[in-house]
């Protein structure tokens, strides 16, 4: 828990006059689980996009394990071991659930990790699905993705990331749209992954669940980092309360 795996320095991004991310800096230590919270529109997803190469920052630097990855292509960044989920889940609808996972298993990163032998990709895919909570001996893994309920799709998204055998996992509102029981069953999976050494950044609105497993919380508001610290401290912070109270109407309308 002492080495920095990800360092973000003074990241800035402007979208046609709207400042989406303003001077954001933070560090992530190896094995840490960092929660990122903030009202809607505070720039959380943009931050993820900036870190994973989907959006080029106007200024600032992102360093992963000492390598500068600012503005690199997303597939190169994923190749280095950073996996992310997408908020708007769009699986490969016409394929079955486990076929969805064949694609990341096709990447050169996985080929290298498996020592050049793909082995039985189908079996690896089924195992992965079981790891995220798909019932193994049922038809569910074989069902076409378009027929799966939303909670399963979100877990499929998680499996897609895990297929990459990442060292850093970024979850963008994984729990949104999941039922209480689905969240309850997925949370321990994430916790276990973290305890096994996977560094995780979790963007979430479900604060209760997030605070149970994260080590540290960072709060964003209007693209700026306003607070960064252990969950208890963050909850007591006045600025945080004001940020959320101000957008409470948005929350109740969402």
């Amino acid at each position: 828990m002492d080495r920095t795996i990800l360092a973000v320095e003074k990241l800035c991004k402007n979208f046609g006059g709207v400042a989406a991310i303003v001077d954001v800096s933070f560090h992530l230590r190896e094995g840490e689980l960092l929660g990122v919270i903030g009202p809607n529109g505070s720039g959380k997803t943009t931050l993820v996009n900036l870190m994973t190469g989907f959006v080029r920052p106007d200024s600032g630097k992102v360093t992963y394990r000492g390598t500068d990855i600012t503005g690199k292509m997303p597939y190169k960044i994923a190749d280095l071991g950073i996996a992310r989920t997408f908020q708007m889940v769009k699986p490969f609808y016409q394929l079955s659930a486990f076929k969805n996972l064949i694609i990341p298993l096709y990447s050169s990163r996985v080929k290298k990790l498996l020592g050049g032998r793909y082995g039985d990709r189908d079996a690896v895919a089924i195992d992965l699905l079981e790891d995220v909570g798909f019932e193994r001996d049922s038809f569910v893994p074989y069902k076409v993705a378009s027929s799966l309920p939303h909670g399963y799709l979100k877990r499929l998204e998680l499996a897609r990331c895990l297929a990459l055998r990442p060292d850093l996992l970024i979850l963008d509102e994984l729990f949104s749209g999941m039922s209480m029981s689905e969240v309850a069953s997925t949370l321990p999976i994430i916790e276990k992954l973290n305890q096994e050494g996977l560094s995780i950044i979790m963007i979430e609105h479900r604060l209760k669940e997030l605070f149970r497993i994260c080590h540290r919380v960072m709060v964003l508001n209007f693209g700026e980092r306003i607070v960064d610290g252990p969950p208890r401290e963050v909850m007591e912070n006045d600025a945080v309360k004001k940020a959320y109270l101000g957008s409470e109407e948005e929350e109740s309308n969402a």
């Binding site: 597939y75 769009k90 016409q94 096709y106």
Partner: protein
Amino acid sequence: MKLRRERLDRGIKARCEDIFALSSYREILYLVIPRILPLAVLLILPLMKGVVGLYWIKVMVITCAIALLALSWDLLASVGLISLGQALFFGVGAYLTGYLNQRFGLPPFLTIPLGTLGGAFISTILLLPVLRLRGVYFAIVTLTFPLLLTRFIETTKILGGTEGMSALSPLPNLWVEVYLPVIALLIALFVFRRLINEDYGLVLQGIRDNDRAVMSSAINIYWFKIQTVFLAGLVGAFSGAFMTHYYRFVGMPAFSSDYSILPLTAAVLGGVGTFAGPTLGAFILIPLSEVLRAFGTLRVVFYSAILIICIVGLPEGVFHYIQRKYHQFERMVNVE
């Protein structure tokens, strides 16, 4: 008493899903006939030229050329690249072949392979810059390049200018003329279908459906797009290369929009993404267009109408429809 339509798989299909399909001749035939029958027809038809007539054999050759372009179009569509100008591949392959033949006197069995490879290579280079942009840019560029290249040739008068290059070497004999495109078509069909059903094809379709997810799965989507363009280019350029020696002529018509619209219509009509569909579409469309020759340019209006109707109303295409009919039957049941 309300009725609703219900679709069920035929019993024989359900039985054929498993390995037990090998247990009875009836089931084996059920699976094998749809594949063998068209194959046999394609291979035997040229032999019957006495019955069918030389004219229709010629139509068949042209159909194969267009079908090859339709297959190449379908491969591009499978990775999300929509081509409005297959004529680009065709023309580049055609001109390269003609040039090699006229300038260096190389015989067809050399110029055609060289024209195919070179044509694919050149086309890929031309399209390289737009592979990083949104899919629409590919459509736009493929639309404009054939037109612009035509003007270029017309103005600079290179490669024969408006006259083109004529008196090129013929193909050795009638059998080569007919069987070369047919064999090429069958090979391309077989290879592409295999490709798309393997994991490689999954990646291609993934790129089409959600390229961001594929990218964040550590796959270089641009490299895959390049490979696909090259592969499609091979098939398209071959079509052009072959036709150059079939007609013994290459000129500005090699970039004509017919070579773009016909494969496109054939593919949409037959069923995008199936490869068998575009082939079927070509075999419906081209003979039909020959029959309707008297209507002149109204045929193109007809193609446009087909395109719009198919795209909006029957997006699955004729092939899927036939496949469905083969595998399923419908009946009306009472709604409780």
